[in-house]
């Protein structure tokens, strides 16, 4: 359990964070979401005991991180925005060094190193020096050093920063694996990234927590949502009209937008007052239509985010 109470951090006279209070339970995966300069990195660095807070308390696993940072550091693995690498070392030597710093014995490292190399799929390059690795591999080495000592809490600051699409998917899968055995905190300003990997979001703006909860919790009650649905009508002269009729009849759908052809079917934007994806899919199947795709429109989460971090300011 992580408990932050009235946590704040000032750089000189400038407030970078807080006062913020939040709690994170064991086994949760929580995303710190916010624009650049919102205080995400500062919050994570305090949690990793890299920075000391200007005021407030923070407890990790029942230990006061300000009074006993040494003890807390044993339980935390941290991947900062820029992975802390010694590029002249080989991957294996670097991970051994990182493990030794965390108090691991030679026997423990002998057992753990192959496991970590397998988790982050670095086995093939374990004897390569880090300066010969691509950005994606370096990022994985950064994750490996964060988990080598089997910490309860893993903190990843912008883990997908600078990665290409394939590497982003690999990193996302890696985070999913980490979720099985660690409490994971991730920061990002990429909304879809956070929403796909985290159980809960903490939205930060100008150093303050402006929203907390799941993606659904963060959406205002009564706010209009956008659902996109792609449907194919197997038969009939007017498939578009046929589908529109079915969709318009669904309870909760207030507006069916203009259709356009996509992927062998027709895509529609539906305005709804609640999450009625289940009703939509059921209605389509009952009408013997083919449901090809159904999801929130991307703008849904973006709208929520922009509303939370201050409207027009955020969109600029």
């Amino acid at each position: 359990m992580i408990r932050a109470t009235k946590l704040s951090k000032f750089y000189g006279g400038k407030r970078a964070l807080g006062p913020v209070s939040f709690e994170i339970s064991d086994g949760e995966t929580v995303g710190f979401l916010g624009l650049n300069g919102a205080g995400k990195t500062t919050a994570l660095r305090i949690l990793a005991c890299d920075l000391r807070p200007s005021s407030g308390t923070i407890e990790i696993g029942g230990v006061d991180a300000v009074a006993d940072p040494h003890e807390v550091r044993k339980r935390v693995g941290f991947l900062p925005e820029n992975p802390p690498l010694y590029t002249e070392m080989t991957v294996a030597d670097y991970l051994k060094f990182a493990g030794e710093l965390r108090g691991m014995t030679a026997d423990q490292l002998k057992k753990r190193l192959p496991e970590v190399l397998e988790i982050v799929t670095l086995g093939e390059v374990q004897n390569d020096t880090i300066d010969t690795l691509s950005h994606g591999f370096r990022q994985r080495v950064g994750v490996a050093q964060a988990i080598i000592h089997e910490p309860k809490l893993v903190i990843l600051d912008e883990p997908t920063r600078g990665l290409d699409p394939v590497q982003i998917v690999e990193m996302r899968n890696l985070i999913h694996d980490l979720k099985q055995s660690h409490t994971v905190l991730i920061s990002s300003h990429i909304l879809t990234e956070i929403s796909q990997t985290c159980d809960r979001l903490l939205v930060l703006s100008k150093g303050a927590v402006v929203g907390e909860g799941s993606e659904n919790d963060l959406s205002k009650e009564g706010e209009v949502r956008q659902i996109t649905v792609t449907v194919r009508a197997p038969s009939g002269d007017d498939p578009k009209g046929q589908i529109t009729k079915v969709l318009s009849a669904i309870a909760g759908v207030s507006k069916v937008g203009d259709a356009y052809e996509q992927g062998g079917g027709w895509s529609f934007a539906l305005s709804t007052a609640k999450d009625c994806r289940a009703d939509v899919s059921r209605a389509i199947v009952d009408a013997k239509l083919d449901l090809l795709k159904l999801d929130y429109a991307r703008s849904e989460l973006e709208n929520t985010f922009i509303r939370l971090v201050g409207g027009a300011d955020a969109s600029n």
Binding site: P83, P84, E88, L101
Partner: protein, 241 residues
Amino acid sequence: MRATSIIYKRELGRYLRSPIGWIIAALMLLIAGILFQSQALPGDNLSAIVLEKFFYFATAIPMFCGVLLAFRLIAEERQNYSMILLKTSPIRDTEIVLGKFFAALTFLAIILALSIYMPLLIKVNGKITGAQIFIGYFGLFLFGAAVLSIGIFASALTSNQIVAALLGAVFVAVMMLLFVLAKRLDAPVQDVLEQVDLWWIHYQGGFMRGVLNLKDVIYYLGVTYFFLLLAVKTLEAKRWQ
């Protein structure tokens, strides 16, 4: 102190594997050799005087090496973002500073040891004792330790390696020129500055002449401790900034 040993091994390995460390060593030994050949050997001096002159010019080795080996130790870690690995590991800032200091000191000792052929040449051809050589080298070692500690403190102040090198050089230069300032002042400030000077009284007046004074040993250990402590406190303070 387990972490000190881990950091020490990594840093020393880096010095030994890096061409830069050996280039610095080669340059320093070349300069010391040239000075020995051109300044210490000529003339019909007594071998004890030649040895004194050798230890006079050999001061350049710890003076320059101390700054050159130390400036990157912490500044580079910050510049490359690797410092955060050390700072988020369950180790103390004291262990970080000591591990790096002892690694640099070991490499400096290796460089100093490589220069021993020069005093041995004097011993073979003249009348000096092994104790004189030992005391001279002990002085160079202690002087080097003090310079290294000043360099590490400078390195802890900034993440820019060039600024760290310049700061280290300025601190060492100021500490070595205090006796010049002391000459222009009256007692008791004069006495204080003379005693604080990094080279004149404690090295030139003692170790260089083959004289081992406990107060000189304590002085160099004190300076080294003081600047290492400043480096540790600087690292600690950065966590609050």
